[in-house]
Symmetry: C2
Subunit: 408 residues, 2 copies
């Protein structure tokens, strides 16, 4: 095998030249001119090594290295090129360039493969333009009905199909992604956390992707004068919220087992320094790879909200917003990747992803696997996002060995 | 004595006809047309009973019943007619109409008084138009230099002197309020809290007005991904803030002695449900009538902020904003009012005001006293603000007896 990290460096640098916010981080929203330029670069490189390009339903792109068995299901690898606003240089890009480099090595070294090998670029993974994450892969895998697309709009009111057409993206293959035509889906991605770095491991083998439950919680007390209302006569919504928020951390730590729980947004009314808050609204985001543990965490938090509010004679409302089911990735793939890493003396760690990824949508269709590479200080979705080129190279090597083994 | 509560009812109803927000509560901002109409009504009533009207420096109005001794210092009584936005029918108005009614009874019954008796209407007590509370009385008593008025503007950029002139308010007496010309200042006001109601008392005798210290507190952690950052690897600014906010309540309750402490405003950045808060800013309002206790509460809270942030390796900044010194009102007046209430079999309570009032500015110039009447459920600065007419009548009776005793 001969993964060339200099080629990967050049790919990453080239793609990140296409950036709508050079003053701060990287901004490359789906179907923007920067996005299309980055896609064009990758397509050009993929054509150069002789792949067959298909422009697929949902705005995704597939580049095929045909296998010796024309009827065999494909092994797919790839990620996305869109970013959040003021994001980093690695999220998504790493998965595309490692797949591209793996495909280059396969063609250069004329590695025989019975199964077709596909490089894929998913559209609108971040949801930062159309406020709908994993959009391209959701459409392609049939998890989002095409008819709903007319209602998915960017902040300027442009629908997803309109934006696709305006970008000159012409779908050449209208077919859905069918399970029987897919053997496996593999994705290299930055960890976006600091577990690998902390444990001194250079490769994470993702066993599961956490389920997510989002809630809005509203506490209702009474807005009174901050000067004339004695402490024991108050119905202070923020005092209850503060105790609930503290409990959210305590509960997540107590449950452990990869549980994370976050309050990221809070607002109070009337929001004046000299008025006791009458209403407080805050978000709650709870994640766990095991649905039972996830539900048990939610139950405990909800009970705490009730106890604290009842005790203080305050009203409350817990509104469930979106939720994502936990996903178990393929044990076969984890074992295979672990074996390949061991052969190369790369220290790997079985890990759980707290973030969602396109590959999660493939877990029920085929053998799905993900390789994480370390994020410096766990930073992601920000200009400080950084992953060492050497680690990306190792991720690419494990990807290449695993894909060629599966496609052999 | 013959205070007529029907006249008081009529006065309150008439004044509250002048309202810029009939759809919700009462809005009567200083020098608005509604404000001027309410002032005109009160002036007309004061002229009717033969008082001499002066339009005083700072936008205040003084109506004098001359005493038999032309050189004696005056006994003054009154309050304000401006309201907060969407405020209530009683805050301020009660102090004006009880002073008006007391003056009516004095003239009707020809009650002899050696000292002049003044009815006063202060301008911009609430600070809701010019964002500067107690403005009229601050100018008149020389606590705010006239030269600074050009910089005090409403949200439309109109300065206080411009607004005064546009409203047709022509100052007829440019003199400052001089201590030697003032014997006492008395104000009836709604409690704006629920202490009297809770204790079943109909009159509060204000011994002191709490000092206030305002702060802005900023906690700085690190904004990380809510899904990929394990609980033990977080620098969550909101988790620290939640614990500090809970401590603020605990500390105020522990110190007791009229201590109140409130966090009324909170905001976090980036403020997304799936991102750990990196920065949290919140307000802190602490009040106590005793400066030593107030400072001790602040010290304890500041130490708690430091302990919690140090323990979590977070940064913090505590920025002092405005502060108001605690004020002790006249013991002579409290004793006198208590005696008058006892004579009338009115159940009174010595009380501390958590809110600021114009009368606080007179405490160093003359004998200053305040009479509180109960607020239903402690509500104020809202459409639900309510005080029973009977209680306002009792407040007026105590005011009348006290003023006539002082002016005798």
């Amino acid at each position: 095998m001969a993964v060339q990290i200099e080629r990967i460096r050049k790919d990453i640098d080239f793609i990140n030249k296409f950036n709508a916010s050079p003053e701060r981080g990287i901004t490359r929203q789906t179907f923007s001119k920067e996005y299309q330029a980055a896609v064009d670069y990758v397509v050009k490189e993929l054509k150069y090594i002789g792949t067959e390009i298909s422009y697929c339903r949902g705005g995704n792109i597939k580049a095929r290295l045909p296998g010796t068995d024309g009827n065999a299901p494909a092994v797919m690898m790839g990620s996305h090129l869109d970013t959040v606003v003021h994001g980093g240089r690695f999220d998504g890009v790493v998965g595309v360039v490692t797949a591209l480099e793996a495909a280059r090595v396969i063609t250069e070294q004329k590695i025989a493969h019975r199964l077709p090998i596909d490089v894929v670029v998913f559209a609108e993974e971040e949801g930062s333009r159309f406020n709908w994450g994993l959009l391209g892969s959701s459409i392609w895998t049939g998890q989002l009905d095409h008819s709903r697309l007319e209602n998915i709009k960017d902040s300027g009111g442009v629908t997803y199909p309109e934006a696709t057409a305006r970008a000159g993206f012409e779908v050449s293959d209208e077919s859905m992604l069918e399970p029987e035509k897919l053997r496996a889906m593999l994705e290299v991605h930055i960890e976006q956390g600091a577990v690998l770095e902390k444990k001194g491991c250079r490769i994470g083998l993702v066993e599961a992707i956490a389920g997510i439950k989002h809630f809005d919680i509203t506490i209702t007390g009474r807005a009174d004068h901050a000067g004339t209302t004695p402490m024991d006569a108050r119905a202070d919504a923020l005092q209850a919220a503060a105790r609930i928020i503290a409990s959210v951390e305590d509960i997540a730590q107590e449950i452990g087992a990869h549980t994370v729980a976050t309050v990221g947004r809070i607002a109070c009314e009337p929001g004046q320094s000299n008025v006791i808050p009458g209403i407080v609204r805050f978000s709650l985001d709870v994640r766990n790879p095991d649905e039972t543990v996830l539900n048990s965490a939610i139950t405990t938090i909800n009970q705490t909200v009730k106890d604290i509010c009842d005790n203080r004679h305050l009203g409350f409302e817990i509104t469930p917003l979106g939720s994502v089911q936990p996903v178990s990735l393929s044990g076969e793939i984890v074992d295979l990747m672990e074996e390949k890493a061991r052969e190369k003396n790369i220290r790997s760690l079985r890990i759980v992803s707290g973030a969602g990824h396109d590959t999660a949508l493939f877990a029920e269709l085929a053998a799905a696997g993900m390789i994480f590479v370390p994020s410096a200080n766990g930073r992601s979705h920000c200009p400080e996002e950084f992953t060492r080129l050497e680690d990306i190279g190792l991720g690419c090597e494990v990807l290449l060995s695993t894909v060629t083994a599966l496609a052999a």
